[in-house]
Amino acid sequence: MRAKTISSVGNYVLAVVICAVFVFPIYWVFNKAFTPLDAINAYPPSFFPTPPTGANIAEAFQEGNIGRYILNTCVIVGLTILGSVLSCSLVAYGFARLKFRAKNALFLVLLATMMIPFDVTIVPQFILFTKIHWTNTYLPLIVPTFFCGFQGAFFVFLMRQFIMGIPLSLDEAAEIDGCNRLQTFTKIIFPMMKPVIAAVVIYQFMYAWNDFLYPLIYLDDFKNYTLTLGIYLMRTPYITPWGPMMGAAGLASLVPVTVFFLTQEKLLGGLQTSGMKN
């Protein structure tokens, strides 16, 4: 009994230490975001902003144009969520419920696309989007999501799993009531998919909010920058403006961290089941 208590206390201590280590970089973003400019590069570093200041964030807005970047990012985030939810739910319904030739083979192809390193597609995609004059617009970042692009294969996989858990009798009842396939989907299945749609919305939100490489490649005009790109490009080879950069980084991190904590059960639960697919 006693040995058990000791080992469980030990487990707690270990868990707390591990969590402290893993959280530290995120803590550091927020610490620096609120540290006064004259103390930001101080050594030894302060572990708590004394006194906490909003000056870094204010400067990020004034000098760093962050307000504009946040707005840009929100536009992209909103439209990509729309695209992913619409296209992936429809495709997932097709794979879960309907019969067509080579369905299983096509589904395997869909899963296989998750394994392709993006380096292979990014160069020819760039050429394609340049040829049709989409560079320096948000189209290369948004349009693919309406065709299950970027993380779409993963979303289709998650949604298909979910639909397969919905009793088939519901579809049959709808069909008897005179619904065609599309109506069965829009009126019966889609409304029932709320939990998995919520998960996809959160994933897509995180992905689009954090995305850095695609904006880096496609956006040239600073007016179009997204938040992560804008923060990255605040730095020059000679000067790293740590104050506004960390202030903006704090803002850029606050949003996904908050969303994550509010939704972590759903998000991590979905991930856990996706790992069981083997």
């Binding site: 995120i26 292979v120 299950c148």
Partner: protein, 315 residues
């Protein structure tokens, strides 16, 4: 387009009693997956094919393409001074980062899988670094690893060590990069935890009756039962560490003295800095083949070490 879908399906629904018209049914099913199929052709398969063709071309993006055969590939292997070093660095990074992430992921998942109050909070905290943007993450580490005012050197000095030039000493920077990859262990941890929670309790109960201790249970039950997930995670992390870029750009930019100039940066710079599209395509196909090769070897070896239940896996 919606009209056609509705029309075909309506024929279906009505035709169900009299004429089943299986061909029409089959076609209408395909209509639903068209968005993915079009996207697959336009944004994945088409571009991949185009890039394969391009890898046999010389094209600096402005002038006409000329067919050069295997010249791009030959150039990579024989002339490009950055090719082999960047492959070596990428393999170095992967060979350390992936095993560390997998082992840490398993150990932390095993800890959290015990009867631990508040384990959902612990689980979330360890995953937390994964919700940051790679660019922000690299930036923060750049701050923490700064030689003069970085908090890491403060810890080292507090423990009696000397300041380390994490990002300035070419010999050390690759290790700094590997170290930052440890914080990505949250994702594997979540997947392992899911797999562990799926192991039936009665296995452990039976082991307990037989007198097996914690270690024995871990090595004889937990570990074998999660081997399918281990394979899956290794492949996932392998691909992500082969293509790691955002963090590296923000943390080191490939420096100092190209010490962290990984293969993905080589592809990126050839394509988007020097606009050598043909050569960059060849480089990206070489990477694809390397990743595919390693994945296939892993799959083949998995018969020896991955435990599959009798029923067989369903995807």
């Amino acid at each position: 387009m919606d009209g056609t879908i509705a029309a075909t399906s309506k024929t279906d629904a009505r035709g169900k009693q009299k004429d089943k018209s299986p061909r029409l049914r089959k076609r209408s099913g395909f209509v639903f997956i068209l968005p993915w199929f079009i996207g697959f052709l336009c944004f994945t398969a088409g571009p991949m094919l185009f890039s394969l063709v391009m890898s046999f071309m010389n094209w600096d993006y402005m002038q006409n393409m000329t067919f050069v055969g295997f010249a791009n590939y030959v150039k990579a292997f024989t002339q490009d001074p950055f090719f082999f070093p960047s492959i070596r660095r990428t393999l170095h990074f992967t060979a350390f980062a992936v095993p560390i992430q997998v082992v840490l992921g398993i150990l932390i998942a095993n800890l959290f899988n015990k009867k631990l109050k508040g384990k959902k909070v612990f689980r979330a905290l360890v995953y937390l670094p994964c919700v940051l943007s790679g660019a922000i993450y690299g930036l923060v580490w750049n701050n923490m690893l700064n030689t003069d005012f970085g908090v890491f050197n403060y810890f080292i000095q507090a423990l009696g060590g000397e300041k380390v030039e994490w990002l300035a000493d070419p010999k050390i920077t690759i290790w700094a990069l590997i170290m930052t990859a440890i914080w990505a262990a949250g994702m594997p941890m979540i997947l392992f935890l899911g797999a562990m929670q799926n192991i039936p309790d009665h296995y452990y109960e039976a082991a307990e009756i037989d007198g097996a201790g914690g270690f024995r249970q871990f090595f004889s039950i937990t570990l074998p039962m999660i081997t399918p997930t281990i394979l899956f995670v290794i492949i996932l992390q392998l691909i992500s560490s082969f293509t790691v870029m955002a963090q590296v750009l923000a943390l080191t930019g490939g420096g100092p003295a190209k010490a962290t100039y990984l293969y993905s940066l080589l592809v990126y710079e050839n394509a988007f800095k020097y606009m050598k599209m043909g050569y960059a395509s060849a480089l990206s196909w070489i990477m694809f083949l390397i990743v595919m090769g390693i994945t296939i070897v892993l799959f083949l070896s998995s018969r020896k070490w991955v435990y599959y239940e009798e029923k067989g896996g369903n995807i």
